[in-house]
């Protein structure tokens, strides 16, 4: 199970890649493994305003459905539309092709509340 060092994480198993003013968001390798085969992702439209740790979409796997939580507040600046045709990217490549949205970060201080890779791994350890 991969937990890339350079990313930040939430306890709800989203990852965050900070690129300048934007945060790219997806779900972790652990999360995709727990969900199993993803068949549908519902994502917000570009321009939607998100609030930190509020649901911004849902992810349907064959067996179950799960909410997605916004790691930071801000406006959606891009959506990975390829997931509509290829939801399996989330299983195959959770940190690259499986990215979901980019958020224009409203308040950079919120980034401090996210987990480091080490802290996220520790949280996972409690699961395992």
């Amino acid at each position: 199970m991969k937990v890339p060092r350079e990313l930040k994480y939430t306890k709800e198993h989203e990852w965050v890649r900070v690129r300048g003013e934007e945060a790219e968001v997806g779900i972790t390798d652990f999360a995709q493994g727990e969900l199993g085969d993803v068949v549908f992702v519902e994502l917000p439209a570009v321009g939607t305003k998100l609030s930190q740790m509020k649901s911004f979409g849902t992810i349907d796997a064959v067996k179950t459905v799960s909410d997605l939580f916004a790691p930071v507040s801000g406006e959606v600046s891009a959506v990975n539309t390829e997931l509509k045709e290829n939801p399996a990217f989330i299983n195959q490549s959770p940190y690259e092709k499986g990215w979901m949205v980019r958020i224009k970060i409203a308040n950079k201080a919120e980034l401090d509340s996210l987990l480091t890779a080490e802290a996220y791994e520790k949280a996972l350890g409690a699961h395992a």
Partner: protein, 377 residues
């Protein structure tokens, strides 16, 4: 996470599952493999080749004694007394009011009747069967000592014939043979829950692991794969087969569940007959239908079904129809909205998906319906 696994039972194949890296989950009191590689690829492996399911959690109850045939026939709605030796019969077993105690397979083996019931219902069924048993019937619990594998897929015949010879190839759908006795007892039936050609193999628990290994050895040329309960569910759902606890239970009857073909109202007597006759006479208010949804949003158990916004029913099973390429579901809807082709909507998490009533089975390309070529005229 809480350790919920410690009180769960394990099938004799547990060590094989963990060695294969299966994801194990609690199911009906057992620790069972939900998937190995992934539900989608396992589903496709069964539709296109052959897969093996550990279904040892299913419960076996043997009725023996001079009254076994007659008693079995009184317990269930289908005809199981006058069927030829070597025949398997799918049937519901009902309460007096017509609600379904369980759905099961009845194997006609000589004067005995072997009942194969759902894992979650085993204790309840055993109590029900013992409670109603006459003096000339002995009810034997063979659950612990029996292991079961389902070998399913268009290439299942190759694999099972390699193991058991032409006897297996010659089996018609819903027939079986037995061989050996004691610990070497084996029962092979041409049955399944996937919509593909397939077999179910019963052995004593002491022979379980060697049987697993032989099945995988014989299946190696056909690229046989282990399949988890996740794909078992998506395969059966595409076929519109009922799952007890989802689509049928004690509050539903076989007539509204579309299982009328298994209810022999012409039998002189069986438990629930009077109620079912009455239900049929007064007309069904609702029916279990197959649904195919537009879009990719998946209906889930409990999702509301509407017709032009008005509530008309509830989803009992829903998932991705992996071979259909569309979400599929089963739902009880009002009888007026149950006709094939009826346009409905399914509400999932506040969003409406258009859906259409489709005759079961929703998936019709499975090998189970393919006529079996005769080897000799």
């Amino acid at each position: 996470m809480l350790d919920t696994t410690s009180t769960l039972k394990r099938t004799p194949f547990y060590a094989r599952h963990t060695a294969l890296g299966a994801k194990m989950v609690p199911f009906a009191g057992f620790e069972m493999p939900i998937q190995y590689e992934g539900i989608v690829s396992e589903h496709r492996a069964v539709r296109g080749g052959v897969g093996v399911f550990d279904v040892s959690h299913m419960g076996e109850i043997r009725l023996t004694g001079s009254g076994a045939r007659a008693y079995a026939n009184r317990l269930v709605t289908n005809q199981v007394d006058l069927v030829p030796d070597g025949k398997a019969v799918y049937t519901p077993m009902c309460l007096d009011h017509g609600g379904i105690v369980d759905d099961l397979l009845v194997y006609a083996t000589g004067e005995d009747r072997l009942l194969v019931v759902n894992a979650a219902n085993f204790e309840k069924d055993l109590a029900w069967v013992r409670e109603h048993a006459p003096r000339d019937v002995e009810v034997l619990d063979e659950n612990e000592e029996t292991a079961q594998l389902a070998v399913q897929g268009p290439r299942a015949e190759d694999v099972v014939t390699r193991l058991y010879g032409d006897r297996a190839k010659d089996l018609e759908f819903y027939t079986f043979f037995e061989e050996g006795s004691g610990e070497d007892w084996t029962l092979v039936s041409r049955t399944g829950y996937t919509g593909e050609d397939g077999f179910e193999i019963y052995v004593r628990a002491s022979r379980a692991l060697v049987t697993w290994d032989r099945v995988f050895e014989a299946g190696a040329p056909a690229l046989i794969r282990p399949i988890g309960l996740g794909a078992r569910d998506t395969l059966r759902l595409e076929m519109g087969y009922c799952l007890y606890g989802n689509d049928i239970d004690e509050t539903t009857n076989p007539l509204e569940a579309g299982l009328g073909w298994t209810v022999r109202l012409d039998k002189p007597e069986f438990i629930g007959k009077d109620a079912l006759v009455g239900i049929q006479k007064s007309g069904l208010p609702r029916k279990l239908v197959g649904l195919v949804l537009d879009g990719a949003r998946i209906a889930r158990q409990g999702s509301e079904v509407t017709a032009q916004g008005q509530p008309v029913g509830t989803v009992t099973s829903g998932s991705m129809g992996i071979s259909l390429g569309k979400p599929v579901a089963m739902a009880y809807t009002r009888i007026d909205n149950a006709g094939t082709g009826t346009k409905l909507e399914v509400r999932t998490r506040g969003t409406e998906s258009p859906a259409q009533v489709v005759a079961r089975p929703m998936y019709r390309a499975g090998s189970v319906r393919a006529p079996k070529p005769r080897r000799n005229p």
